[in-house]
Amino acid sequence: MDDWETFEQDDFESRYADELEMLDDLEEEDPQPISKRRLSFCNDKRGDIGVVGVSTGHNIVSVKFQAKKRDCNEMFLPLSDVEESGCDDWNSDSAPCKKRARLSLGENGKENHDTGHQLPILENERSPLRQLQSKPLLSHDSKCTNIEGKLLPRWEKRKVFRRPPMSCEAVTITRMDGQRLYLSVRADKEDETSSANSKGMNKKLYRGGLRNSLQLLSVPFSVLREHVLEERRRRVMEESEVTTSLNRPIDESGIAEPQPLMHSNDIEVNKEDEKLLQHALWVEKYTPRYFTELLSDDAINRILLTWLKLWDETVFGKGLDKKKKPKPEQSKKNNLTKKFKKHWKGTQEEADWNALDVTGRPVCKVALLCGSPGLGKTTLAHVIAQHAGYNVVEMNASDDRSPEVFRNTLEASTQMKSVLGYNEKPNCLVIDEIDGAPAPAINVLLSVIKQKDSDAASAKKTKRKKKASPLSRPIICICNDQYAPALRQLRQVAFLVAFPPTIPARLAARLLEISRQESINTDMTTLTALCEKTDSDVRSCLNTLQFIHKRHGRVWLEHVQTVDIGQKDSHRSLFSVWQEIFQLPRPKRKRFAAYANIENQNSSSCTRDLLSNDLLAQNARNVGDQRRLSAVENRFHNVLHSAMSSGQYEKVAQGLFENYLQVKFKDPNLEVVVSGTEWLEFTDFIDQAVLRRQSYHLMAYNPFLSVAFHFFFATAQSNSKLSYPNSQYEAGNHQKETKTKNLVQGIKSESAPHIRQNLNLRTACLELLPFILDVITPTLRPVNTQLFSTREKQQLVELIDTMIGYNLTYHQERNFEGQYTYVLDPNIEEAVKFPGLPQHRQLTYATKQLISREIELEKMRRAERNLKNNGDNGSCPGRISSNYKNTKETKPNNTIAVFDTKAKPREVKPALDFFGRPITIKSQTAEDQEKSDSRQSKSSHIWFRFNEGYSNAVRKSVKVQEFL
């Protein structure tokens, strides 16, 4: 853009140097017309896609395809042929003539401009539709000079002249590079309307205004206002004429289904829209407007719609034919959910979001759409909300960052309703980019959701359900990264809808359709490539398509591949980086065989020298396929790019190390694995060098590990089971090792001497412990031990013996859920839980309890036996023995002893009084007394209950009253 401007500028200045001078003089002499109005103009950056009115595009085109040396007048000349009405003026005006009287309110200026922009349309003549469409527009525009915000097409408003426009007021500005530009002056009102659309533009306007130190309006505001009103009236009149004279516009877009047109107003609006569309970004132009047009996954669309419909009862108060509908809807939902379960499985169970709470609102008050950019989330939200009969209020959370603004908007949109205008629908708030919102703002949202929940509960108590219904409007939040920390809490209360990537085929088909409508020369392959390149980002696809189309007039594969746009420089998560490294780009699957060749070469021959691009190219050339070469190159660059963009080389490397063996690559000779480990070693070297000697320049080599791994290990299937690297952590801290060592040491030190002597770490871990686990889990019937058969008893005894031998026991623990479990102590299970081995059978709680107790008893018994044996030596009578005396004398056969102890019925413990004497006397005393003395028996009506302690610490104040 700058190019042509300067180019033309030179030319222009050389030609009109004289006039310029004169004009400058004139301006100096007569600054009067320069007023402090806001100006409307196209600045030099207006070519930016997305900001600008359509004029931009046309400017480019016009300059490119017309002879570049033509000045404005010449450019406009051919138009007069086409354009009959209202052009006389400017034809004569257009000559640079300072004496030309100023015409009222820039009317001419506008026309001048308008016609100028018709050029590309004319050039586009081969599309009959276009022309048909442009005609009414032209005639219309030429007639209406002013300017009512809504209806005015944007491109009418901006003007920059390279020489002083004669037709209207102008303000001179001098650019940084000394170039002078002339801006036509327009009334305020106009610009305000435009300003809403282009903030950036506005800023420049102000700046321009300041620089020129303009004065206030030259025409009084009231007059302007009258003009505007009159113009509006006139315009409406004209338009109604136009519409009646026109046939119904042909539905040329093909995307928008024929709209049911109610009254003429609507028709006008539609027409306007279509005109706008013609010049709009394709992204906007082909934005789906109806539910059926949505490009995103059907299941997602419907689920979201279902959710939104849940609000109907609250919002519209219809109750949705509660009695009739639920069934079919339910079944439909079920079908849906079955069919598309994969898309939202793991987010919420059906019952969760499908239900209504007590106030008749959905349980989840907020829907959270998440997915990578360009999948059509915002579009979906808008379309669905409109479909469900809402008025969409959109806010962008990353723009409105302060919690106050957030709250205001939130409350305004959920509690109020637009009363002005025809759009008297309830609001549906769409919060875009909510992951960009700061935590306080999110908290505001949360509090609105939650706090009002409680309100609802209380409101229900007072039986004023409808009136007090809180948060009565649906909110749809949109984010890219659902795992953003800020959203953590929101995620719990929201109805999560994760967007899967758009299916490339589907996207490509849509692109093809669009291309056909835009008459783009392209093919399916190209479009598929485009989709792939943009990661199925619809917006990016369309923008790229439009861009290429504008530049080349056709869109071929080479364009798509060469053009350097369409790829986002987005930050990618580690997982997606690993994913990309380990996965071959999908579309290449078909041609995999051919690539396998290259890859084999790569994998076998290149290790470190793979880094050289040349080599790659050479390899590819060997294969002799230029295209594939580029594909390999692409892969190389893609992987490199994403590895670099992730930035965390070390983590990436760790992840690769952790996961590469899990990937199902084909490598019968383990060559690739060897190469891979060598690469890892190399990376380690580099890391070491970097960390030890601060040789940070070496870090540049780090990302190539990823590339190498990609070529070594990438497979076609997706590797969903990538795990986060933690072996590094474990190894680094020797944590597990230490733990295991300690554990075995513990067993060793406390086990019986004859076992201890043969126990070392290695044998214990590898040969003993895994099997001992099986040994100590015999099959014991879950019955009372008394009912055990002799064999079972024997088994139990042996088990106890073994466990004591290895100093194993079960001890009670409380797990996270508060349940008690018996856990092996020491917990050898942990130490020998080798991956891949089947899970050991677990004993039941009761069995473990039994074993644990038997172990204790057996230990006591043994201790006592020891004591007895050593009794003569006068060893102190320990607590164990004395306790044990109470149970039973040890018999030679342990088993029986065990069971006898158990079998012994629990005696009724004789009631003892404080001194340990049995208190059986009490009742008998009473009887006795009764017998002996009838009189005394009376006194037994009163008895004494002793208090253990005594307190008179409580003091209460007392009122005077109580003494009256």
Binding site: K956, V958, V960
Partner: protein, 412 residues
């Protein structure tokens, strides 16, 4: 009697069974009273001081509104009356005798029945406390004495108007204020209240105008001769004091020897004599200094420099908002009678200064306007040390400069 013997047998049998070997003397069988409605009795734990008071025939009083927390007052002290709960059972046995008692030895029968009049688990406890005098000022402020001209109604009219006014005799105050009589009188003195009856409430001139002394005796029977306790309106009091001081200047009397009678004789044309005397009492005291006149009967008052200075300070400060400190000190010194020297120490409790501001300022801030809590010295109950009180509600710490600071235990 036979019945009693059989009872005795049973009792002895039971005692034997219980292994009571060394029994001696009378057996008292405790039984519940046959007349259980005897529950009008309350147990009150008496501190010895009160017991002594009662023993000499004085009575004590429970005072206050029905909803007030009960306090018990002797004529000098005030006690909190609280209910103490005890986990033990207290059996009140009126006739019970102990081995040391004569009755125990002299009892003929080996067994007697004793009635337990009632069984208590609570008793009342007394604890000396600070008198609850907050109400006193509140009551008196309701009808300030603003000068004789505003008092005309007091005596003349029949009971109605008198009743309407909220005037309080000492008896009224005693029933309303939870404090002992002594404490109330002290407090009244402290807040400079005076007892006026209707006659005294008006000045001589008014008395004359209203028909001399005749009405004094023809007045209604309902009129009580006991005076009402009143507070002087501040403005009025200022007026009176200024009047006295002006007279002092006029007569060139020294403030150290004000002849009371002469002074009152002169001024009673303007103000009731009792008011004049009251004011003199407030701001001075009797002195027995020798005077030239040699008249033994002349009573001289010595005005307190301290009080007069404070009086002037308040007088000045009350009228202004914030005062430039230095200007204030100057004008203050100028306004006090000759010979008196103002000191900033006089300002304690009546003003605040801010020396940081430029210029330094001073403003009226009487400590009596503060809420009740902050002056701990006044709050400590008799016998309770200030420290104990502080430790109950605050914790002390020593800050960096070595000043001991008390912090509230409550996190406010």
């Amino acid at each position: 009697m036979a019945d009693q013997r059989s009872v005795l047998e049973d009792v002895n049998k039971l005692a034997d069974a219980a292994g009571l070997v060394n029994r001696k003397g009378l057996v008292q069988v405790l039984q519940f009273s046959h007349n259980p409605n005897n529950d009008e009795c309350k147990l009150l734990e008496l501190p010895h001081r009160i017991l002594d008071t009662l023993k000499v025939g004085n009575s004590v009083t429970i005072r206050g509104d029905h909803q007030d927390e009960a306090v018990l007052c002797t004529d000098k002290e005030t006690y909190d009356l609280k209910v103490a709960d005890t986990s033990n059972s207290l059996l009140l046995v009126p006739d019970c005798v102990l081995p040391k008692d004569e009755a125990f030895k002299s009892e003929v029968s080996p067994l007697v029945f004793r009635e337990v009049s009632s069984c208590y688990t609570t008793y009342f406890e007394l604890k000396q406390r600070r008198p609850k005098l907050e109400k006193l000022k509140f009551l008196l402020v309701g009808d300030l004495y603003k000068g004789p001209e505003n008092e005309e109604n007091t005596g003349h009219l029949e009971d109605d108007s008198v009743k309407k006014r909220s005037l309080h005799t000492l008896a009224d105050l005693l029933s309303k204020v939870q404090a002992s009589e002594t404490e109330i009188l002290e407090a009244l003195k402290k807040i400079e209240a005076l007892e006026i009856n209707a006659m005294e409430a008006v000045s001589i001139s008014q008395l004359a105008a209203s028909g001399g002394s005749s009405w004094m005796f023809s007045g209604s029977q309902a009129y009580s001769f006991s005076g009402h306790w009143r507070l002087l309106d501040t403005d009025y009091k200022e007026k009176v004091v200024i009047g006295i001081l002006t007279l002092l200047e006029e007569k060139d009397w020294s403030y150290e020897a004000v002849p009371v009678r002469e002074c009152c004789d002169i001024l009673q044309e303007l103000e009731p004599r009792i008011i004049l005397e009251h004011c003199l009492n407030c701001y001075g005291e009797v002195t027995n200094m020798e005077t030239d006149s040699g008249d033994e009967n002349t009573v001289y008052y010595r005005l307190s420099e301290d009080k007069i200075c404070r009086f002037y300070a308040e007088y000045l400060l009350r009228q202004a908002g914030r005062f430039n400190y230095h200007e204030f000190m100057d004008s203050w010194q100028q306004s006090v009678p000759e010979g008196m020297v103002t000191k900033s120490a006089h300002l304690a409790g009546i003003a605040l200064t801010d020396m940081q501001s430029i210029p330094p300022v001073i403003w009226h801030f009487p400590a009596s306007d503060l809420p009740d809590d902050p002056v701990p010295r006044d709050l400590a109950a008799p016998g309770q040390s200030l420290n104990a009180l502080l430790m109950k509600f605050a914790r002390s710490s020593t800050d960096a400069t070595g000043v001991k600071v008390y912090n509230s235990k409550k996190a406010t």
